[in-house]
Amino acid sequence: MAQLTMIQAITNALDNALEKDENTLIFGQDVGLNGGVFRATQGLQAKYGEERVFDTPLAESAIGGLAIGLAFENFRPIPEIQFFGFIFEVMDGIAGQMSRTRYRTGGTRTMPITIRSPFGGGVHAPELHSDSLEGLMAQIPGIKVVIPSNPFDAKGLLLASIEDDDPVIFLEHMKLYRSFKEEVPEEYYTVPLGKAKIVFEGTDVSIVTYGYMVHEALKVAKQLDEEGISVEVIDLRTVSPIDIETIIQSVEKTGRLVVVQEAQRQAGVASTIMAEMAERKRAILALKAPIGRVSAPDSVYAFSLAENDWLPDAQDIIDKVKEAINFD
C-alpha cells in the first residue's frame, strides 16, 4: 500500500474513476496539461486524453452549465472550481439548477455531478481563496457537501461522491493537501457519504468537527488526555446531510458537546448541529452543560497577515472543552 498525501489520494481517486466509468469527465480551469493549480489532475489528460480531461474557458458559470448539459447526456461530470471563493460565479448552476433538477423533473432526470474545489484557511492566499463557504452550500436542498480530513477518506469519499446520482460539492482543505501522508490503497474503494467517523474515543466530552479542524481537535484530545480529560472527536466527513445519529450516541455517552468549525459563527454547519441537538430529546436529556461552539468571528475572511489570529485553533477548543467540563 502506498503512502500518499491527500492531493495524491485525490489524483489516485480521479484516476480510478476515469478508468472505471467511461462516462466520467474532468474539466475546469487549467486541469488539463497543467494538471490543476494544485496538481490534483496531474497526468490524467496524458493518460485519458483531451476528450475526457479538458480545460474550459475561464468562466465558472459556464463550467456549471457544461456539467449540467453533459449530465443530461448521461455523462458523470467531475468539474473543478479552481478556488472555492469563485463559487459565487456559479451559484445559479448549483443552487438554481443542478440541485433542483431531480425535484423539478419529478425524478425523471438526475444530476450525477461532483464539483471539486480547494478551500480553507491558513495558507496565506489572496482574498476569496480561503473562505469556508460550506454553510452556504449546506443550506441548499438537493445537494450533498463532503469535506475529508485525511488522504484515506479523501479517496473513498471522492469515489462515493462520483458514484452518487445526486450532485455533490467536494471540498478539499488546502492546508491538508500536502501536510501528511498515510496508507491509501491503490485499488478502488468508497467511504459512505453521510456517515461521520469517531476518530478519537473518549467519555467526558464530544467534539464534533470536520476538515482541517479535525486535526486541531485531535491535538486537543491528546493533550487533555494527559490532564485526565477524555475527549471524543467526531469527524463529520459529510456536512450535508449531517450524521445526527452518530452525534447523539456520542452525546449520550459523554453528556457534553463542543462543535468546532473554521467558518464564521453566523448560520452555518455548527449552528445546525447545535439546533438539532437542542431539539432532540435523547441529546438534550443527556447534556450536562450548554453546547459549546468554536468558530471564526463574524467578519469577512481575515487579511492574510491576520488570518492566523482570526482562525480558531487548539487553544480555543481547549477553552470551550474546559468550560463544558467545569460547568455545574
Binding site: 468562466a59 452549465g65 457544461l66 447526456e73 448521461n74 439548477q97 425535484y103 425523471t108 445526486d166 446531510p241
Partner: protein, 368 residues
C-alpha cells in the same frame, strides 16, 4: 511626430454593424421579397406551419383568459411571436435537444409535450416537469439566460458521443444581457459544438426596452465576440425564420459549430398575466405598427394568394383547437393533489436521515 490622421472609431464600429442587416423573405403584404432564400417547403408544409401558428395564437388567447380567471399559474403570453417560435422549431428534428424559455410553451407542445402537462407546469404541479426519457428537452427556463450554458453542455455531450443531433435554445432580448448568454455562446464557440442559439428580441425585458439594455445595434452582432456567425431575421416573417433556422441547423450538424439567430419580433401582450401593465412602458401607437406586421396576417395573405388557404377554414379549426385546449385544462384540473411527503422523496435518490424524519411527519399529517 504628429499624427496626421486620427483613428476613426465610429467608422470602425459602423463597419461591424453593417454586417447585420435584417433578413426578410415574406413582407408585410404577403409578398416574397427575397426569392433566393425562399425555403424548400411543400404546399402542405406551408399550410401546416400556418395551422400551427393559428393553434399557438388560439392557445395564447385561451390561456390569457384562463390566467385572468386564476385557473393557470404563471403564464407568459406569446401572441406576436408565432413566426419566431413555430417557424424556428419546425427546422429541428425530433432528436434535436430543446432548451426553451418560459414563453416557449407552444414550442414544447408542438414537439410533443401533452398540453395538460404544460398547464400543470404553469399551475405548479410536479407532473408538469416529468418528461419521458426520449422527449429531449429541459423544462422551461426561469433563470433568464441560464439555458444558454446548459445548451453548450448538451451540445458538448452530443459532440463527444458523435451524435448527429443538434441543440437549440431560446432566450429573449433581456437574456442577451446576462453573463450566461456570453459564457454560453463563447464556450460553445470554443468547443465548436452543435448549438443553435435563438434570441427572440420581442423588444422588452418586462418593461425595459432593448435599446436601453445595450449599445449594440443588433443582438445578432453579439455573436462576433464569440467568433460565431450571428444572423438578424425578421421575426414576424415565418419564411425567413424557418429558412435561417434550417440553414443554421445544417451548419451546426455539419460540424461548423454554433450559430446565433436574432428574431426581431413583438410581444403583443403583457410580459405575464401576473400584474404586468404595458401601459406603463409601451406607447399605444406602437401596437398598431406591430400588429400591422403580424405574422398571422402575412402568412394568411401569402397562402391565400397561392390558393392554399380559405378564410372559411379558420373558424372550424379554431373551434377544434378550443376543444382540445378545454380537454387539456380539464385533465390538468383533475391531476392528483400533490403530497409533501412524496415531493420530499424527490430530493435525493435515497432520502437523508433528516428528510426521512420529515417524510414520516408529513405522512402522519396526510393521514397515512
Amino acid at each position: 511626430m504628429i499624427n496626421k490622421k486620427k483613428f476613426d472609431f465610429a467608422a470602425h464600429l459602423k463597419s461591424v454593424e453593417e454586417n447585420y442587416q435584417m433578413i426578410q423573405i415574406l413582407n408585410e403584404k404577403g409578398d416574397i421579397v427575397n426569392s433566393d432564400l425562399v425555403p424548400d417547403l411543400s404546399n402542405e408544409e406551408l399550410v401546416q406551419l400556418f395551422k400551427d401558428m393559428l393553434w399557438s395564437r388560439a392557445l395564447n388567447d385561451r390561456s390569457v383568459i384562463l390566467a385572468r380567471q386564476g385557473r393557470l399559474g404563471f403564464f407568459g403570453p406569446s401572441a406576436g411571436q408565432e413566426a419566431s417560435q413555430l417557424a424556428s422549431c419546425l427546422a429541428f428534428d425530433k432528436n434535436d435537444y430543446l432548451l426553451p424559455g418560459y414563453r416557449d410553451i407552444p414550442i414544447l407542445v408542438k414537439r410533443g409535450l401533452p398540453l395538460y402537462k404544460a398547464f400543470l407546469w404553469s399551475k405548479g404541479h410536479v407532473e408538469g416537469g416529468m418528461y419521458p426519457e426520449d422527449f429531449l428537452s429541459t423544462t422551461p427556463e426561469i433563470i433568464i439566460g441560464a439555458q444558454y450554458i446548459k445548451a453548450a453542455g448538451v451540445g458538448l455531450g452530443f459532440k463527444k458521443r458523435g451524435k448527429k443531433q443538434v441543440v437549440f435554445t431560446y432566450t429573449g432580448d433581456g437574456g442577451s444581457s446576462q453573463g450566461d448568454f456570453y459564457e454560453g455562446i463563447n464556450v460553445a464557440g470554443a468547443f465548436k459544438v452543435p448549438v443553435v442559439f435563438i434570441v427572440q428580441n420581442n423588444q422588452y425585458a418586462i418593461s425595459t426596452p432593448w435599446r436601453k439594455q445595450t449599445a449594440a445595434n443588433t443582438l445578432a452582432q453579439k455573436a462576433a465576440a464569440a467568433g460565431i456567425p450571428g444572423v438578424l431575421v425578421d421575426g414576424m416573417d415565418p419564411l425567413a425564420v424557418y429558412a435561417i433556422a434550417k440553414a443554421a441547423r445544417d451548419w451546426a450538424l455539419a460540424g461548423n459549430g454554433p450559430i446565433l439567430i436574432e428574431t426581431f419580433t413583438s410581444r403583443f401582450q403583457p410580459h405575464s398575466m401576473s400584474g404586468d401593465d404595458p401601459k406603463l412602458y409601451r406607447d399605444e401607437d406602437s401596437y398598431a405598427e406591430w400588429e400591422g406586421k403580424d405574422p398571422m396576417i402575412r402568412m394568411r395573405t401569402y397562402l391565400t394568394k397561392k390558393g392554399l388557404w380559405n378564410q372559411d377554414q379558420e373558424e372550424g379549426l379554431i373551434k377544434q383547437f378550443d376543444q382540445q385546449i378545454q380537454e387539456a385544462v380539464k385533465k390538468a384540473d383533475d391531476a392528483p393533489k400533490q403530497k409533501i411527503s412524496q415531493l420530499l422523496e424527490l430530493m435525493f435518490e435515497e432520502p437523508t436521515q433528516v428528510l426521512k424524519e420529515q417524510i414520516e411527519s408529513y405522512k402522519k399529517k396526510e393521514g397515512e
